[in-house]
Amino acid sequence: MTGPLLDVTDLHVTFALKDRTVHAVNGVSLSVRRGETLAVIGESGSGKTVTSRAVMGLLSPAARVAGSAVLLGTELIGLTEAQLREHRGRDIAMIFQDPAGSLNPTMKIGRQVTEAVRMHLPLDQAAARARALELLDLVQVPSPRARYDDYPHQFSGGMRQRVMIAIALACGPQLLIADEATTALDVTTQAQIMDLLMDLQDELDMSMIMISHDMGLAATYADRVMVMYAGRVVEHAATERLYRHVRMPYTRALLDAVPRLEREPHSLFATIGGRPPDLTALPPGCTFAPRCPRVQDRCRAERPELTEHETGHHWACFSPWPDERR
């Protein structure tokens, strides 16, 4: 099959509160090709996590999801829980920020992996156990046989995340969504886990969506980067293009705010004021307009659409920064 593995079109997610509606995702379109890594970058409340959970069908019943998400030719939005379970794990899997919270603390590590294997594959206990040991070995848990009978509390954070990756890989998914998967880890452990994910991706020919707040992580590990703000994609391009030719003022502000080793001690950050908009009362025009250093009258009245202004480089802005190679 050719074409993208996952194709999301005009995805909207709203949550109804008592008297207001939270507009968490407002028309997101994205596609993931085979074998590539797409980074979705944004601050808290940007809708990056809600987008991925909507695709996985993991949102609470209070969420209203509209739009389309086609995975390998199958429309996921609107499927029942039972139908979704067919795809989850087999075609698409997810790892989360908090590996401790995702593992059952009262069940041995090895058994949790074995159960994940048996959930989707018609294997007997012995074969599933053998497969689980293979997976633990694959994610580089040292001496998996010895640690099979350990409980999660006997594992460090980095090791727990390796176990979560083993569980996610149990059935050979074609798409792995990593939602802030290394955020809770120390920087040296983060580097180890990211290296592991990149190796696994090559080895298993898997696509990945990396959801993160970290512009540095995306620059190092993603092929393409999408920046989200207030539930919309505001800029999108191949990684090197995006970082070297930033156009959307929000992306630029994010990049300016990242601490850098090259800077002199006590140098100040270029910052913007304000806060992200209230998702229950979005402004009519560009949602970034109230904080934007380049705002014009048009930005407050009219909403800029995400448009491919240059080959492979999309942005949603009426007043982008001029293209200066950074």
Binding site: M159, D186, A191, R260, L268
Partner: protein, 348 residues
């Protein structure tokens, strides 16, 4: 007294007893094991380390909350470990702390005004009216309009605003030293940059000194004059932040630097495949003998297991605790020379 630094910590040790079933002593966590450092007047000393490095325990020991097991904490010439009661409180007045969790460190039932004023009341300073004026003053200083925010409660504030309130509270007693323990780690990157700029502004306006503790080396480097790197309760390396980055001497410092994902896409493919430190941080209940980093160090030799390396001077203001530092001491250029480009750590 000109020679005395603002804060001088000498051979600080802090340990926690872990108790198993029935309160039986199970082991001892060696959280801080003989740390000496100083913060000079008007400087920012960054302390960087991963979880379990003892950096937060170090901050608490300096504040005497709780008191360290042994060692000296001389603040403005007075050893805090020998003071108690009102004399300790009076000394500590000039040393304030800002912590990571802005919501957790503010009482949710109090208004912003009462939170910021509270230290003044505790030290019985000023009349009620004067305290309110002073708290309005510091709120203004941290960029919060007192008329707009004074009567609000923490839940009506964003994370960045909460952290500003915590900073205002730390400033209300006009301290000379502020201890920041992961003070911006829980903030989104844009509010983090704003709060860091605020720290810089306050430093210049109020002649503050900071002990700035964080796990993010890039961040620490950008705010600090000097940086101390901690691993498992000990200092690995202390030096001017520029030199420490340009030529890290301790293999752990180099590993930390190599693990930072840079927002510059140049060379990103080679960055992925850097030599990494192996394995994980050992248990602090049973730290490795000799150098505590040796179990993960690509340069470890038998001597590292037997002899604990002491911090020794290797360059201007630059110290390292390693038997086999990355750059030999005599290779250090004379003062004023341009530091050479950083050489990558040899692969493991």
């Amino acid at each position: 007294m000109a020679a005395e630094p603002l804060l001088a910590v000498h051979d600080l040790v802090h340990e926690f007893v872990v108790r198993g079933h029935g309160g039986v002593k199970d082991g001892v966590v060696h959280a801080v094991s003989g740390v000496s450092l100083e913060v000079r007047d008007g400087e920012t000393l960054g302390v960087v380390g991963e979880s379990g490095s003892g950096k937060s325990t170090l901050v608490r020991s300096i504040l005497q909350a709780p008191r360290p097991l042994s060692g000296e904490v001389r603040f403005r010439g007075v050893d805090l470990t020998r003071l108690r009661g009102s004399r300790l409180r009076a000394s500590r007045r000039h040393m304030q702390a800002v912590y990571q969790d802005p919501f957790g460190s503010l009482d949710p039932r109090w208004t912003v005004f009462s939170i910021v004023e509270e230290p003044l009341g505790a030290h019985r300073i000023g009349s009620r009216r004067r305290r309110r004026e002073r708290s309005a003053e510091v709120l203004d200083l941290v960029g919060l309009d007192p008329g707009l925010f004074g009567q609000r409660k923490p839940r009506q504030l964003s994370g960045g605003q909460c952290q500003r309130v915590a900073i205002a509270r730390s400033l209300v007693l006009s301290p000379s030293l502020v201890l920041c323990d992961e003070a911006v780690s829980s903030l989104d990157v844009l509010s983090q940059a704003q709060v860091l700029n605020l720290f810089e502004k306050l430093r210049a306006d109020l002649a503050l000194s900071y002990l700035f503790v964080a796990h993010d080396l890039a961040l620490v480097k950008q705010v600090s004059d000097r940086v101390a790197v901690m691993y498992m309760g000990r200092l690995c390396e202390v030096g001017p932040s520029q030199a420490l980055y340009a030529r890290p001497l301790h293999p752990y410092t180099a590993a930390l630097l190599d693990s930072i994902p840079s927002p510059d896409p140049a060379g990103r493919h080679t960055r992925r495949r850097r030599a990494r430190v192996r394995g994980e941080v050992p248990s602090p209940l049973d730290p490795p003998s000799g150098c505590r980093f040796r179990t993960r160090c690509p340069r470890a030799e038998p001597v590292c297991a037997t002899d604990q390396p002491q911090l020794r001077a290797v360059g201007p203001d630059h110290q390292v605790a390693c038997h086999f530092p990355l750059v030999e001491a005599n290779a250090y250029p004379p003062a004023g020379a341009v530091p050479a480009a950083r050489t990558p750590a040899p692969s493991a």
